[in-house]
Structure formats: structure tokens, C-alpha cells
């Protein structure tokens, strides 16, 4: 079931109503039923995978905890890891690996035809697999005790607000909340609903508003110009942020209505002043997952410098692969790993350069420069992320390079800006009219203003200081902005595919 569907508009109020009607003791049954129904609306048979994951990790968790010897603990942990990652590998990576093997053998003129699995990728499989894995890993590390109540554990694995696109929760944060009695709290519920509204705004007005243009640009980059590809890449940066953070906002808001506090997943990532800062703000639940369960076990930064860099690189390569079974994702991950390593390698030189140029005295300008530069680096990464193939990436960079070569002529006014990019070319190449552009950029500007407000005083604090009539007018305007400028139809969230 999609959050942005009429079905959810009926489903959610019904679940909330019943949730507060049910006695606390039996609420888990409602949440479990609702969560399975939510998932089964997409492809009923795939619920078996969630049930399998639940049962494996429930029993593995018990066995790991009760095992007396380290060997036994390891054995059950291995069973959990192999089962979960095995399911993930079969559904998500099998074809990628078999295709890659085939291509490698082709280089040596060996015809290696490996079988291809013609199955649909189960929605959200990477999210719930990582969530259940963290549970068994935490038990193995002695950080949590296993959950005795199978039903509540099943709700933890399948909790519908965050089931298909996160945030990837940890057992120690989410599991205890199923035992807490959540009363009907006006402020908590209204805050949850407001957060959901904000998520819908981001998804329907911005993300879906630019989706057509971005799809058009990346479907056939050879038909585009360098300028339209630059514009499409920037639009994609906002599309993916609004799509994914919009989903997170709706998920966190929906959970909040029911009384649950999910972890923050995004903190204004495009305000990041470095790549490492970007990863503290983007998909926080995944980056902290990789930090805790991959980077630290690899030795983290407490190893020799080359090994540290290798650890960072491995984590980002795996993160890229987590996002999708395609080399473009792997390279995207690798590129971010490279950015981080380069920032560490060049740190001292950059600091010296800063002092030498006295740029360090101009803190605000320096910060702004850092934010813009980070945004550019992130956008270069998005090209790999969004492109359909590596050959498309080559075309895109080629066109962008041609565009950059025009800049000297633009600066010296040998060439007018209209000759490089015009509304006509945007309309022709990206199917965006002047009005569309005004709506999209207006919506992005409004979002960024809200982000600035959030960074300065906090949106809730700011809003609560205003009279009721002003607050309601803002909510009403937001609803009408969604109804009038939102894109409605069969639009899935991008992160579902991961």
C-alpha cells in the first residue's frame, strides 16, 4: 500500500481509531494484522518472506542468548546471517551477480549462460532484513535480551509505518515501545499529523513534480544538452531527498500518532558542509547501521591509516550495493568512499591553504562555499545513482563537460545565456513549462526556508508561538498547495526499490 493512495487515507484512520479502542494488551494483534495487510496489498505471497525472517530471527535470537559456548552463539548468529542475507541475495542480487559473471567470462570469449531469476524484488526487503539482522547482532553482542513474545517481535519486524522504506529501527529503541501504553495525546497526535502533512508536501509537490522531467532527461541523455542535464541532476537531488525524506516524515508522523517514536532519518542533508557531515544527515538510520555493524567490526578508525581508509571504502561500496544491484550504485558508493578518504588525506593541506588565503577569517562565506561545494560533489554522485547504465554516465559527463567549455564564452558574452539554455529548450527537453518551473522552484524555496527556520529556532517552537488562526491558515495553505500543485496518480516512492 502506498502512503500517497486513497487506500491509505482510509486504512490509517481506521487503524488509529481501532488502536485507541483496543485494550493495550491486544493492540499488538491489531498492529500485526494491519502491518501484514499493508504489505500484502502489494503482493500477498511475499508476506511469507517477512514471516520467515521473523521466525528465523526470533528462534536464532533465543538460541544465541541461551547458548553457553561462544561457538554455539556464533553458529546461531551465522544461521541468522546466512538466512537473511541469503533471501536478500536471492531476490535482489542473484541476477546482478550472474550477469556480472557472464560479462567477465565474455571478456575471455567464454560463453557462460547462467540462470536468470524472473521474480519481482520484494518491496522493502533491504529495510526489514537489516532491521531483523540488527536484532540478532545486538543479542550476540549482549546489548539486548531476546524478545519472548513472538507476536510483539513479529510487529517489530513488520511495523507498517516503517516497513517498506525505513527508518531502519533498532530493537532497543522500538521493541520496548510495544509494551508501553500509549494514551490519546492531543499534542502528540496533532504533531504526528502535521509531520505527515509535511511529508506529503515534499513527496507530491516536489518529488513527483519533477519526476517526469528527471525521467525524461535520464531515459535518453544523448538527446539532452549539457545545461538540461545539469538542471535535471539538481532536480533529481531534490526529488530523491523529498521522496525519501517525505516517506520518512510520513512514517515517523504515522508512528507518532500511534504513540511510537521512530529515529530521525534526515537532518537537512543539503546544508551539509562536508561529505562526512552529509552522511550524518542523510539516511541516518542506514549510515548508523553500517557504522555499528560493519565499520566498527572492521576496526573502524582504530587501525593503521591505510586500513582505516580501506574500512571506509568497503563500507561505502557495500552501502552502494545495498541501494541497488547495479554497478552504477556500487560506483556511487565507492565515489562517496573516495570523497571521504580524500577529505581525510587533504585535511591538513586544506587547513594550511585556508590560513594562507585568510579565508578562515570569513567564516560565513567559507561555510557557504563548503555547503555549495559539498552539494556539487553529492550531485556528481547522484549522476551515477540515477543513470541507467555506465555508458549513460559517460554521455552525461561528456555533455556536461561540453557545457562547462561554453562558460568562458558566456562570461565574455560571446555567447548569450539564451543560446545555452532557454525556457524553450527546457520545455522541449524536460517537458517543464515556465509555470511548472516556478511551482517546483517555489516549492523547493519554501522547503529550504522551513529548513532554515528549523535550524534556527525549530519549526514547532516557531509555530506554537503564533496564534491558532495563523497556524491553521498555514496548514490549510499546505493542504491546498498539495491539492493544487501536487502530482497525483500511480507514483511509488523511489526507495521502495531498495
Amino acid at each position: 500500500m502506498l502512503f500517497n493512495s486513497l487506500q491509505f487515507l482510509v486504512f490509517f484512520p481506521v487503524v488509529v481509531f481501532l488502536y485507541f479502542l483496543f485494550p493495550h494488551k491486544y493492540r499488538w494483534t491489531l498492529l500485526l494484522g494491519a502491518s501484514y495487510y499493508f504489505y500484502m496489498c502489494w503482493k500477498p505471497e511475499y508476506v511469507i518472506l517477512i514471516i520467515a525472517s521473523t521466525l528465523i530471527d526470533y528462534f536464532a535470537g533465543q538460541q544465541i542468548y541461551n547458548a553457553r559456548s561462544k561457538v554455539k552463539k556464533k553458529l546461531f548468529l551465522t544461521i541468522s546471517l546466512i538466512s537473511n542475507l541469503g533471501i536478500l541475495a536471492a531476490f535482489k542480487y542473484f541476477n546482478f551477480f550472474s550477469d556480472s559473471v557472464r560479462v567477465i567470462f565474455e571478456q575471455f570469449s567464454v560463453d557462460m549462460s547462467l540462470p536468470v531469476l524472473n521474480v519481482l524484488l520484494p518491496v522493502g526487503i533491504s529495510f526489514y532484513t537489516f532491521q531483523t539482522l540488527s536484532y540478532t547482532l545486538d543479542i550476540y553482542r549482549g546489548q539486548i535480551k531476546p524478545q519472548k513474545h513472538l507476536g510483539i517481535f513479529a510487529v517489530y519486524v513488520s511495523f507498517f509505518p516503517q516497513l517498506v522504506a525505513g527508518p531502519i529501527e533498532r530493537a532497543k529503541n522500538l521493541l520496548p515501545q510495544f509494551f508501553e501504553k500509549h494514551n490519546f495525546d492531543y499534542y502528540r497526535i496533532s504533531n504526528g499529523l502535521k509531520l505527515m502533512l509535511w511529508g506529503f508536501y515534499k513527496k507530491l509537490v516536489i518529488a513527483d513534480g519533477v519526476a517526469l522531467a528527471v525521467n525524461k532527461a535520464f531515459a535518453n541523455p544523448a538527446e539532452q544538452t549539457g545545461a538540461t542535464l545539469v538542471l535535471a541532476t539538481v532536480l533529481f537531488a531534490f526529488q530523491i531527498f523529498c521522496d525519501f525524506s517525505g516517506y520518512s516524515d510520513i512514517a515517523i508522523g504515522a508512528a507518532q500518532v500511534l504513540g511510537f517514536k521512530l529515529m530521525t532519518n534526515f537532518k537537512r542533508p543539503y546544508h551539509a558542509h562536508s561529505i562526512s557531515n552529509f552522511w550524518k544527515r542523510w539516511h541516518i538510520s542506514l549510515s548508523t547501521w553500517f557504522r555499528d555493524y560493519l565499520y566498527i567490526p572492521l576496526g573502524g578508525s582504530r587501525v593503521k591509516i591505510p586500513r582505516w581508509y580501506l574500512n571506509l571504502f568497503i563500507v561505502f561500496l557495500v552501502s552502494g550495493l545495498w541501494h541497488g544491484a547495479n554497478w552504477t550504485f556500487v560506483i556511487w558508493g565507492g565515489l562517496h568512499g573516495f570523497y571521504l578518504i580524500m577529505s581525510l588525506v587533504t585535511k591538513k593541506w586544506r587547513e594550511k591553504l585556508l590560513v594562507f588565503t585568510r579565508f578562515d577569517k570569513l567564516k560565513r562565506i567559507h561555510y557557504l562555499f563548503q555547503v555549495v561545494f559539498t552539494f556539487i560533489l553529492v550531485n556528481i554522485g547522484w549522476i551515477f545513482f540515477r543513470a541507467n547504465s555506465l555508458s549513460d554516465v559517460k554521455i552525461i559527463f561528456g555533455k556536461m563537460y561540453e557545457f562547462i567549455l561554453l562558460w568562458p564564452d558566456l562570461i565574455t558574452q560571446k555567447l548569450s545565456i539564451r543560446e545555452v539554455i532557454s525556457f524553450h529548450s527546457i520545455q522541449e527537453k524536460l517537458a517543464l513549462t515556465k509555470i511548472d518551473l516556478a511551482i517546483v522552484f517555489g516549492a523547493i524555496l519554501f522547503m529550504e526556508l522551513v529548513h532554515l527556520l528549523q535550524a534556527q529556532v525549530g519549526v514547532r517552537k516557531f509555530m506554537s508561538s503564533k496564534p491558532l488562526i495563523v497556524r491553521w491558515a498555514v496548514y490549510l495553505i499546505l493542504i491546498w498547495a498539495i491539492l493544487l500543485f501536487g502530482v497525483f496518480g500511480h507514483k511509488e516512492f523511489i526507495y521502495f526499490q531498495f
Partner: protein, 336 residues
Amino acid sequence: MKKDIYKFIRHSIIFLVIFLITATSYFLVASFYSEIPLKVGVQWIKPFFDHKIKLGNNISEPKLILLGGSSVDFSLSATKMEKELGIPTINFGSTASLSDYIFHVVKEIAKEGDTVFIPLEYHYYYCQRKGLFEPVTLRERYILYYDKEYYNSLPLYDRLAAKFSGFRDLIRMMDESNWEYSEFEDLPASLTINGDEKNTEPSLKPPKVKEIDWPIEFYSSFESDFESGYCVQELSSFIDWSLENNIRVIASYPSLYDFKGAYYEGRYPKIFMLIEDFYNKKNVQVVGTPYDFLYPYEDFFNTGYHLHSEAREKHTDKVIELLRDPLSDMTEMRLE
């Protein structure tokens, strides 16, 4: 807790009332102004349909009607088919994207004993009923402006959806107010007496062939939603109506740009099977396969569905060969 519940209910009701007041005001304004944007961009469709209906009704019966969207309009030659098959043929392909509405319009010319040949473009299999907040398409604009009778026969939801979005789109269409579609002004004159497009010679090919490189994108749940899809249901009803009126339906596939071999992989073969199964279930004969009608880039005029006149001849020859046998009864009848 009770206090909170009462407060929440009270505030929800007040907020809902305020919202409904704004919504009612919107609909009131919309019902006055919704026709303004609806007219934009659809003026040319009216003479186009009127002309094709006139041509269809002037032709002797029983006849062969080529029904579909712009692919039929551009890529099939009714003139050649009439000559080769010896059956009066009308090209009833429509350049306007009117989705299921074409099944309604064709009823004006389809008579007992006729055969309707439907090599529908693939978007006819996934077009959905317009949601309340979705933008109006040419279909809604045309129906609201030119076919009030059909509009009034639609369910209330569809009528509200058209009105709501019609006004909403006024904002987005402000910079399109100079849409004149001047190239279509002489449309009736650009058609042959069999309804074929005249001016599609390769030498007239527009400088940029738009959207030609797009492989068709079927949304992810297309397969599971297929049979319940709005247009498929409408197509199904049209087939039932045809059979009830002794009109034969023969299905096939459209001419399509062979995009980097994409249609041989992934979901496409299964989707094509799904379409064939649908026709089989409806007892509609299907001729050819989608792969019979894939053509190289050079063969297209201005989109990945529209063949230019030379390629049209080649495509029509293929279709004639495929139809010769199923239509032999009509040919014999005419010879008698």
C-alpha cells in the same frame, strides 16, 4: 485522556468545516471557469473527428475500421488495405490522446457486419480512470467542451474530477494560452478519403524526432492491475458491444520503435502475453506478435509510434498479409 479526545474531535470538526468551505468555494469558482482551459488545445480535434466520422459513414458496408490512436493514424494505410483486400476501409486512428473515448466515438460509424481492427498502442492497456486531483487530459477537456452529452452520462465522480482539475490546470496552462495548434488547422485537408495521414513523407520529418527513444514504461503493478485497469475494462465493454451488434473485432499490436532490443527482455515478453491472453479470453482473434511490428529509428516520423509514409507501406503490407486469411469471408462476400 478524555479531554484530549474531545479537543481533538472538536478541532478536527472545525478544521474540516473550514476546509469544506474552502473546497466548496473552489468548486463554485471551478464550475464557472473550468471550461476556459478545457478549450485550449482541443479545438482541432472536433473537425478531425467530424471529418473522420463523415468519411466513415460515406464508405460502403460492410467495411473494415482501423481503430486506435495516432499509431493507426500514421502507420497504417487504409487506402492500400482497401485496394489489396478489396474491402472498404477507413482509418479511424486518432492523433489526439483520448484514451477510452475512441471506443465511444467509433460507435458512430461501426455497423452490423463491419470488422474493427484494433492494433492499440500500449498505453491503452494501462490508462487509468482519472483521479480527483490528477491533471485533466485531452480526453476530459474534449469531452467537457465538445461532448456534453457524453460528459453528463459519466458517473458523478468522473464529472467532479474533470471540473476540479480543469480549473486547477488553468494555473499550469497560463503560459500555454497561445496554443493554437496551427499545424492541425487544415487537418481534414491533410487526410485521404480513407482517413490516412497525407503529409508524412520522410523528407518532411521534423528536425528532432521527439520522444522516440523512450521504451514504453509500464508501472510496477501493471501485471496485477491489468484486468481491472480502467481502459482495459472499457475495451472489454467495447468488445462486448461489438459482438452484441454483430461487429467482428480483430486485435493486433502497434508499430513501435525497436528501442535497443528492450522489448525482448525483462517484463515485456510477459506483458505482451498478458495482452494476448486478454483477447483470447474475450474470443477476439489476434494477428501477429508485437515483435512483428518493431521497426528501426529511421522508419519513424515524429514519435516512436508514428511511421513515415515509406515505412507505413512496409508495415501495411505486413498487416495485409496477416489479415488476408481472417478477412477472406468479407472479400468473398464483396466479390459475390
